[in-house]
Amino acid sequence: MMRTIEILLVIVIITGAFTIASFFAVLPSPRQVSPINLRRLALTTMQTLDVDYDLSETVFKPPNDPAWAKLQVALSACLPPNIVYNMTVYEVLLTQEKLYNPTASISNAESLGIASDAASYLAASSNVTFNVIPEKIGEHGGGGTLYILNCSDANGWWITGYTAQKLASDLKNLLSRYFQATIMVQNTSQLRQILNKTSLQDEFLQNAVVINTFGECVPIPREYCKGHELEGEGYQSGVDYPYTKYCYTLGQKTRQYNWTWVSIVGYPLYYVSNTEIFANDNNTYGIYGMQKVYQGGINAFLQGLDNQQYRYDETIVAAGISGLVYLSSEVSYCCNYYGIYPSPYQTSTRALSTSIINNYNLTVPLYILNQVGSQIPGAVYRHIFKSDTNITGSFLALGLTRTPDIRLTALGLLSYYQPRLYASEYTVAGTSRLVILQLGQVGGV
C-alpha cells in the first residue's frame, strides 16, 4: 500500500513538472514561426517609392503639402492589404542634445499588431546631392553652349543598338553639368535656326560644341534641300552625291561660329537625313529618310572649315586599322578625374588620315586614341589659319567601329576642355531626412 501511495506521489510530482513546463513552453503563433521579413519589405518599399526621387522630394515638403497624400496613396497601394504601416520622417540635426527631430508621420492604423519591424532610409535633399562642383566650360571666356542634335525628323546610321535620341539623352546626362547651357536640338528646323546664327534659348551660339548623335549621318534642314530656298548651300546638281555641298556649309558655319563639331562614330558625314524630304530614299540598308553623301562629305566639311573654294572631292581620307587602338595617356588620366571609364581599347575602321592636317590647316591638340602609322582613330582637330593664332573651328572625330560608346565622346570633350572639379563640403545637417517605415501584420493569429 505504501508503494502505491509513493507512486501516486511520483505521478503528482511529474504532473506538476509537466504542467509547469507546459506553462512556460508557450507555443508560438504561426505568424511568429514563419514570418514575412517585414524589415526587407519596408526597405524595398521605400526604394520602390524613391525610384524617381518622389519619396526624397516629398519628405522635404511641409506636412500639409498635397504630396504627402499622394505618398500615402502609393504606400497603401503597394503594400498587401494585411500590412499596416507607420512612416515617420526625422530631420537630421547637428546639435549634440538631439540628433533627430520628427517632422512628419503617416500611418494607416493605431497599432502595428503583435509583431512589427522597421527599416530606415536616408533621403538626401535635391539641393545637396553632389559634393563636387565642376567648372563650367566657357565661364571665363564666353561660349559654353552644348548643342546635342536630337532631331525627331532624322534617322541615324552606324549607331546600331541605339537611337540618336537615346544617345542624346545619355550625352546630356553626362555632359550638361560641365556646360553653361545644354540645348537639345529637337528637329531640323531648330538646326536650321542655329545654322542661321539664331539662338534657341538666348544661349551663346559662338564657341559652342555641336554633337551629332546620328553617327555617320547628319540631319539636314529642308531649306538646304533641292527645290528649297537654300538649295545652293546644300545641293549641287551634276555630281553623284549632290548633298555633299551641305557638308561644306556645315564646315563654313563651324569656322564662322568657332564651333567644335563632334562626330561620335564611323565615317563622318557619310549620309544626310531628313525623314520628310527623303521619305522614299534609303541608304541601301533599309533605313529610309536619308541620302548618301559618301566619302566626299568629310572633304567638303574640311574645305568649308578651311574656307577653301568648294570642289566636289570623293578622295578617301579614312581607313581601317588592323588590331586594336588604345586610349592616349592624357585621356586615360582623365578617366579617373571625371569618373568615366570606357574600354581602354577599341577597334577603328574609319580612322582619318594624317594628310588632312596639312591639307586643311589643322593641328591636333588632343589625341583621344593613339595614332597608328598615318591613321588617327580619334582626336580633336583645331583649325588655325596660317600666320594667325586664333582658333577658327574645331572638329572631334572618333573613327571607331559601331556600336558607338558615347562615353568616349564625353571623355574626349572633357579631356579637351578640361573643366576643373571643385570639391565642396558636404554636410548631412538640414539636407537629409531619415525615413523610418515600420510595418506590422494584422488579421489571423
Binding site: 507512486i7 513546463a21 514563419s34 520602390t48 525610384v51 518622389d54 496613396v73 540598308y285
Partner: protein
C-alpha cells in the same frame, strides 16, 4: 507477503503507465519545438534565398555579356539587373524563366515547344524550351536540388484594367489599383494605336494623351471619331504615382481568325520568328495575311519612339499557312526593353495587331517560375516572403514560396 507483492505489482504497473503517458506528453512538446525550429529555419532560408535571387545578377555577367541577353545556361542563378544595385531585376533574365502559368505551345515548323507567358489574345511572349531556364536547373544552381522546392512569382504591383464602356464613339474605362488599395489620383499617360489597312501592308498611327484617375482610381477615356466596332486599335496605359508605375493594355481587332504569332527564336541574336496563327493554333477559314512589324521604345515621358530595324527582311511580308510556306524572321534592333508591334491584315476590313514585349517589363507581364506549392500534397509547411522590386522602373512584387523536400511530414 502476498499483500506486499500485490502492492509492489500495482505500484510498478501504475508507475509504468504513468511514465508512458508522460513520455508521450513530453514528446509532443519536444516534437512541436522541433517543428517550430524547422519552420523557423525554412522561413529564414526563404528570406535568404529570395535575397540571393534578387540581389545577384547571376553568372556570366559582366559589362559586355549577360546570361539574360544570351542563349547560354547560367553557371549561377540570379535575376538582378547587372547595370544596377539594390532590388532591380533584369527584364531579360526574367524573360528566360520557364513560366508555369501558361500552357506550352508547340510550333511544328520549328519542331519546338515554347514556354507561354502570353496574357491574352494579341499579347504574346513565347520562349523556346531549349533557351529557357527550367526549374530543375535553377534548383541545382541554387544548391537546393535535393532539399527544397520553390515557386517564384513576380507580379506587377499596379494593375491597370481597361474595359470598353461604349463602342461608338469609343469610350474606355481605366481602373488602376495596387496590391492593397486603388491608386487614387494617379497620373495616366496613354498611347492609342489605330491600325490602317488601306494599303498592301498594314500600318498604324499613334496618338498620346494624359488623364488623372479619380479617388477610386478610375478614369474614363473618350476617343471621339473612333468607331470601336469597326476599327482595330490598341490602348496602352501607363499609370504612375510617387514612383509606382503600372502598365495596362486593351485591344480590339476586326480579325482574330488569321493573325501572326511571334516566337522568340534566339536571345543572343535577338531574333524573332513570325508565324501564321493557323500553323500554331489551327482554326477555321485560314487565309494568307500581310503584316508589318515595328519596334518601339518607351521614353521617359511615356511616349513610344520607333526604332528602325536594320534588317529589312521579314519586316513587311505576306505570310501563308501550311506546309512549304515559310515563317519569317526579324531582328530586334536593340538590347533595351521595348515592344514589338505587328499589324496584320487579311483585307481592308479584317485587320488586327499583336504585341510582344522585349523584356517583360515593357508590358508589365507577370511571371511565375518553379513548382506549384498546392499541387503536391506532401508539403508539410510552405514559407513565403515578399519584396518590392523594380524591373526597368516598373514596380513589381516578388513572392517566394519555399518548402522542404527532405524527411517525412509529421503532421498533416
Amino acid at each position: 507477503m502476498t499483500g506486499s507483492t500485490i502492492d509492489h505489482l500495482v505500484s510498478v504497473l501504475v508507475f509504468l503507465a504513468a511514465m508512458l503517458i508522460f513520455i508521450g506528453l513530453f514528446n509532443q512538446t519536444i516534437q512541436t519545438a522541433i517543428l517550430y525550429q524547422r519552420h523557423r529555419y525554412l522561413a529564414t532560408k526563404c528570406s535568404d534565398l529570395l535575397d540571393n535571387m534578387l540581389l545577384n545578377p547571376g553568372s556570366p555577367s559582366n559589362e559586355t555579356f549577360h546570361w539574360g541577353k544570351s542563349n547560354c545556361t547560367p553557371t549561377s542563378f540570379g535575376l538582378q539587373d547587372p547595370e544596377f544595385t539594390e532590388y532591380r531585376l533584369s527584364p531579360f533574365s526574367l524573360m528566360r524563366l520557364n513560366s508555369i502559368a501558361g500552357t506550352p505551345v508547340y510550333y511544328p515548323k520549328t519542331g519546338l515547344h515554347y514556354s507561354n507567358i502570353t496574357v491574352g489574345f494579341g499579347k504574346f511572349l513565347l520562349v523556346p524550351f531549349n533557351e529557357v531556364i527550367n526549374y530543375s536547373t535553377a534548383l541545382t544552381l541554387l544548391g537546393i536540388s535535393n532539399s527544397h522546392g520553390f515557386q517564384l512569382a513576380i507580379t506587377p504591383i499596379v494593375t491597370v484594367s481597361i474595359t470598353e464602356v461604349q463602342p461608338k464613339p469609343l469610350k474606355l474605362a481605366v481602373n488602376v489599383k495596387g496590391t492593397g488599395f486603388p491608386l487614387s489620383n494617379a497620373n495616366i499617360s496613354y498611347c492609342f494605336l489605330t491600325v490602317q489597312a488601306t494599303g498592301a501592308f498594314p500600318s498604324y498611327t499613334v496618338s498620346y494623351s494624359t488623364a488623372y484617375a479619380d479617388n477610386e482610381g478610375s478614369a474614363l477615356l473618350s476617343f471621339p471619331g473612333v468607331d470601336g466596332t469597326k476599327e482595330t486599335y490598341v490602348l496602352i496605359v501607363y499609370a504612375h504615382l510617387c514612383g509606382l508605375v503600372g502598365v495596362g493594355y486593351y485591344e480590339h481587332v476586326t480579325n482574330d481568325q488569321n493573325y501572326v504569332v511571334p516566337f522568340i527564336s534566339d536571345f543572343g541574336k535577338r531574333e524573332i520568328i513570325i508565324a501564321h496563327s493557323y500553323d500554331v493554333h489551327g482554326g477555321s477559314n485560314p487565309a494568307a495575311i500581310a503584316y508589318n512589324a515595328t519596334f518601339v521604345l518607351l521614353t521617359e515621358d511615356f511616349t513610344l519612339r520607333e526604332m528602325p530595324m536594320e534588317n529589312s527582311t521579314g519586316k513587311v511580308e505576306k505570310i501563308n499557312y501550311g506546309e512549304g510556306k515559310p515563317y519569317y524572321t526579324i531582328t530586334i534592333p536593340t538590347d533595351n526593353p521595348g515592344i514589338l508591334v505587328i499589324t496584320y491584315q487579311k483585307s481592308a476590313q479584317d485587320c488586327g495587331v499583336v504585341l510582344m514585349p522585349w523584356g517583360i517589363s515593357s508590358m508589365a507581364f507577370p511571371i511565375t517560375f518553379g513548382e506549384n506549392p498546392l499541387a503536391i500534397l506532401t508539403k508539410e509547411w510552405v514559407a513565403t516572403d515578399i519584396r518590392q522590386v523594380l524591373v526597368n522602373n516598373i514596380a513589381y512584387q516578388s513572392k517566394l514560396s519555399l518548402w522542404s523536400t527532405e524527411g517525412y511530414p509529421v503532421v498533416s
